[in-house]
């Protein structure tokens, strides 16, 4: 009977029902779309943020006395979190004497990769080096391409009066190496006082074949939370597994550390935490917007149900006269609400999914695949909207006094 009442009441009042349905579809669609793209948005944002530079630094565990091995470098692309490694750059530092046409000076020579193709069996080819980890460097000139070419920091270049095209000679332990300057780098940091030359040349000059002093890694990570901040050495086995399988900056660092022998990896916290904070804010913003969308949908539902209620009050009064108690009246209204919200949630999910695809294509130029949990979320959102929206109208329905409404 309840079903028959509901069916007839839907079929006979298509307009208000459609109005309510529309509000629910809109609310659930917007919620679905927002939540659907929020993952994508966070991902894109995190990628953008990677241009701030590396967020993990690897140094010899033994301190200045030790060294890392350049042979280990390709293994970085084989760790558990290999897909999250945006790029890395190895460095070997040494004190040398620089001499140019303008004079002589002691300074730091850094051997590195600029943009070196890296082939790892079973992994897609990639380019690694400073170009990838430090995209914010402003380069006057170009990146080195041959073993003879080098990039000089802007401060050092000024003092030695060097410009692209001029030559510089580095001397260490009696050995000499001449480089042609092809670019002057402005970074705003200590790099401005250094000369950057190809890693293999510097290793030969400093007599440290295959050795590294530092590796900077740029990795996509999730913001740290309370669990991520726990000390991994005190975790239970399950906790450790969960920690290891979450892309915290610390767990990615741990993974890199494990493949680079003799290394200790540390997050660069000023980068990692700023990034985490920003991503968290982005997530809360999306949630807030979703909440607002749901709230306004609930208001719309409430007002159209209120209007429908005014029209239906004789009907409700009649039911009460026949002896319907409050539970029975509520069952009819909540039954209607339930049916409308399931249909609305379904339509809203379909519409929101399309909307997410369109948004991500126009804004991010990429495709999203909506996660599975989005479907129950959409239905849930519709239910919340419908229930919140029908609370006030239901209260009014229960308060109807048949005597006043049915007065002859």
């Amino acid at each position: 009977m309840l079903i028959r009442i509901l069916k007839s009441s839907f079929l006979k009042r298509p307009k208000p029902v459609l109005l309510v349905l529309l509000s629910i579809v809109m609310g659930s669609a917007v919620a679905t779309a927002f939540l659907g793209i929020s993952g994508e948005l966070s991902h894109k944002m995190a990628l953008e943020l990677r241009s701030y530079g590396a967020n993990i630094v690897l140094e010899p565990a033994a301190g200045d006395a030790g060294a890392l091995k350049s042979d280990d470098l390709p293994k970085i692309k084989t760790i558990f979190w290999k897909h999250n490694i945006v790029g890395f750059a190895p460095y070997l530092f040494g004190q040398v004497d620089f001499s140019s046409a303008a004079g002589r000076q002691r300074g730091v020579l850094a051997g590195t990769w600029f943009g070196r193709p890296l082939q790892v069996p079973g992994e897609p080819d990639s380019i690694q080096g400073v170009k990838v980890t430090a995209p914010w460097w402003e380069l006057d000139g170009r990146w080195p391409e041959t073993p003879d070419e080098a990039v000089i920091g802007a401060g050092l270049a000024k003092r030695l009066k060097l410009a692209p095209g001029s030559d510089i000679v580095a001397t260490a332990a009696g050995k000499e190496r001449r480089f042609r300057i092809v670019g002057v780098a402005s970074t705003g940091g200590f790099e401005e006082e250094q000369l950057f030359a190809p890693l293999a040349e510097v290793q030969a000059l400093l007599n440290k074949p295959g050795q590294l002093s530092r590796v900077l890694v740029s990795a996509l990570t999730v913001p740290m939370d309370d669990f991520g901040r726990k000390d991994p050495s005190r975790m239970t086995r399950e906790e450790y597994e969960k920690w290891y399988c979450t892309a915290y900056v610390t767990s990615v660092a741990k993974g890199v550390e494990e493949v680079m022998s003799g290394s200790r990896a540390k997050p660069i916290w000023q980068i990692a935490s700023a990034e985490g904070a920003l991503l968290k804010k982005l997530d809360s913003l999306m949630l807030l917007l979703t909440g607002i969308a749901l709230f306004s949908a609930a208001c719309a539902v409430s007002s159209s149900l209120m209007a429908a209620m005014a029209k239906r009050s004789p009907e409700i009064a009649l039911m009460k006269t026949m002896g319907a108690d409050r539970l029975q009246i509520a069952a009819i209204f909540l039954g209607e609400t339930l049916v409308i919200s399931v249909i609305g949630g379904l339509l809203g999910y379909l519409a929101g999914d399309r909307l997410a695809v369109v948004i991500s294509r126009t804004v991010f130029d990429s495709t999203v695949t909506s996660p599975l949990w989005l479907f129950p979320t959409a239905i849930g959102a519709a239910l919340v909207v419908a229930l919140a929206g029908s609370a006030a109208p239901l209260k009014r329905a229960l308060a109807i006094e048949p005597v006043r409404v049915l007065k002859g």
Binding site: S9, M322, P402, L406
Partner: protein, 224 residues
């Protein structure tokens, strides 16, 4: 004979307006009582109190021994569905449900809908051929007969009618009254009916006249 309705000092006022002045009324089981009076004399007020649709300002009503004042709102709803059938002047059917569904709705609130029983009730009021019609497709007399079928479907002990024939022509009125008499003779329920119509009053056992909230006169109908 036991009384189905017993009121003592029953009053109902709306602010300053005293719609019903202290009333002592006793209706024996099975009686057909007619209430007459001018418009605004408190007839509907009395009927609503008897049906548990309204609460008195003072005094007491007992229906079948139950003190209505002690019932909660849901308790009154249960009282209405178990003991009372109500017919109004306006037909008050649900427009989007068929005649059959309108009757079944009353069963639904009472217990469980039983289509066969509902169909039988409509056949008894002579509407066996209009089961699937919606109220808009029925004449005034037919609609009122649907209301009667709906009012008696749960076998109430008390049938209340607030000018049930007020909108009907002479022929329909006679038909409805004959039907009510027939049903009453079979089911032995009591009737309290408000009317302006002297002829309609003649169908009852006893008539009370009201004026300005007071019971002013009472007479036995000679035909019974």
């Amino acid at each position: 004979m036991a009384a189905i309705i017993e009121t003592s000092g029953l009053t109902r006022s709306y602010g300053d307006i005293c719609a019903l002045k202290p009333l002592d009324l006793c209706v024996p089981e099975g009686e057909w009582l007619t209430v007459m009076g001018h418009s605004g004399s408190g007839k509907s007020t009395l009927l609503n109190l008897l049906g548990g649709l309204d609460r008195p300002s003072g005094g007491s009503i007992h229906v079948r021994g139950t003190d209505l004042a002690t019932l909660s709102e849901d308790g009154l709803a249960r009282f209405r569905r178990d003991c009372v059938g109500i017919i109004f002047q306006q037909h008050h059917l649900i427009p989007y449900l068929t005649a059959l569904e309108n009757v079944m709705m009353s069963q639904y609130f009472h217990s469980v809908p039983d289509e066969a029983e509902a169909r039988h009730a409509l056949e008894r009021v002579g509407l066996g051929h209009r089961l699937k019609n919606r109220p808009g497709e029925l004449s005034g007399g037919e609609q009122q007969r649907v209301c009667i079928a709906r009012a008696i479907i749960n076998s109430p002990r008390l049938l209340l009618g607030d000018e049930p024939t007020g909108n009907l022509d002479h022929k329909s009125t006679t038909m409805v009254m004959e039907l009510l008499r027939e049903l009453r003779d079979e089911e032995r329920f009591s009737i309290v009916m408000v009317t302006h119509n002297q002829e309609v009053a003649a169908w009852g056992d006893r008539t009370i006249h009201m004026d300005d909230g007071c019971l002013v006169r009472e007479e036995r109908t000679k035909s019974c």
